[in-house]
Symmetry: C2
């Protein structure tokens, strides 16, 4: 199982609903949540030990002036240079939140700048250590989300935390099947859902094969 | 005279030659140097008072992992939102230093990323307040600079601090003449230099006018 380390920072975490939402969603097997703002200062050895023990690193933070919050920058400035041998070739993902609607982060939007431009320095940090960069996750305007949207985001976030890379359609099907299997151990009445999922998967595989034969015969 | 506020941060300022070089170069009339790393925490009112009193804001820092050092990010996170009415429409400049050769910050260089990409978040912060962005100054590999290169950089930096915008050729001539005039008060033997500078300026103006008449007659 992938061992994932979430490095999280939020200057106002006690009063942040989105922070609590992220923290609750990360309570799954294989995931360690390390919250920076509870620490007065970083002990290099402790931080490096956490990094040594993970396969996947997730940086989770709210955007503060188009960048990481100061506490996360302090963590980066303290450990990133020393972390090189521990991080080289591993996976990295970014889970960011913002109070502004995501659609404003583009040409003609109120913020003009894109998430890609904002995260360019962090991307470069990752590339320098030949890390595999996972798909970006953005939680925007948490307070306006419906329950359905929130549940969907939990799935996206938990996939970022635990799903094997690359995030293909097959991989997502397998991820759901695995999760459903664990749930069925607790709630056997969910078993028909798994049958349904498996049937759907077979149907899609059949369709996929049919499509391929069709292409070959053309 | 332009009132310039330099906000400087360097995690290792006591041992940084480039930091001392920046600090010494900023000891000129009209310039206030505010060094962040000597402060344990920021008192919002004090920081805002400094900003209220300046026409031009210079952020001076070494690049740390393709961004501002953590202490400067802490300053930004603390004051930038509140500073809006005090900064709107003012001038801003960036004076950065790096231990890596400037030529590495481009496609095919070791760093791949450009200074423009690195400073994109800070540029956006400035644009949000309709600030005029002055030409970027980069001090790279200070320890390898010759005395001539250092003296040239002092001029570039002092112009960033005090020269009226836009930084045209005329403006630069005037800036040198003004500086020379102040020096002559202390060292009268420099007077011939000013005469020389004025003669050069007149010669260039004559050439410029001749070029214009020539263009019109074509």
């Amino acid at each position: 199982m992938t061992k994932t380390l979430v490095i999280a920072s939020h200057p106002n975490y006690q009063h942040s609903l989105s922070q609590r939402f992220f923290a609750e969603s990360a309570k799954i097997p294989g995931v360690t949540l390390h919250f920076l703002d509870q620490l007065d200062q970083f002990i290099l050895e402790d931080e490096l030990a956490l990094l040594a023990d993970c396969d996947r690193l997730i940086l989770q933070f709210p955007l503060y002036w188009y960048s990481v919050p100061a506490k996360m920058k302090a963590w980066i400035d303290t450990i990133w240079t020393e972390a090189k041998p521990l991080l080289t070739g591993k996976e990295i993902g970014f889970a960011i939140s913002t109070g502004v609607a995501a659609k404003e982060f583009q040409l003609g939007g109120n913020e003009q700048i894109s998430f890609n431009e904002i995260l360019r320095p962090q991307l470069r940090m990752a590339q320098k250590y030949h890390m595999t960069v996972l798909p970006l996750i953005v939680l925007d305007q948490f307070m306006y989300k419906t329950e359905t949207q929130k549940r969907r985001f939990v799935v996206d976030y938990q996939q970022l935390l635990t799903m094997p890379y690359p995030f293909s359609f097959d991989q997502k099907q397998q991820w759901f099947a695995d999760r459903l299997n664990s749930l069925i151990e607790v709630k056997p009445q969910l078993a028909p859902l798994l049958t349904q999922l498996e049937e759907n998967r077979e149907l899609i595989q059949d369709l996929d094969e049919a499509l391929h034969s069709l292409e070959e015969s053309l």
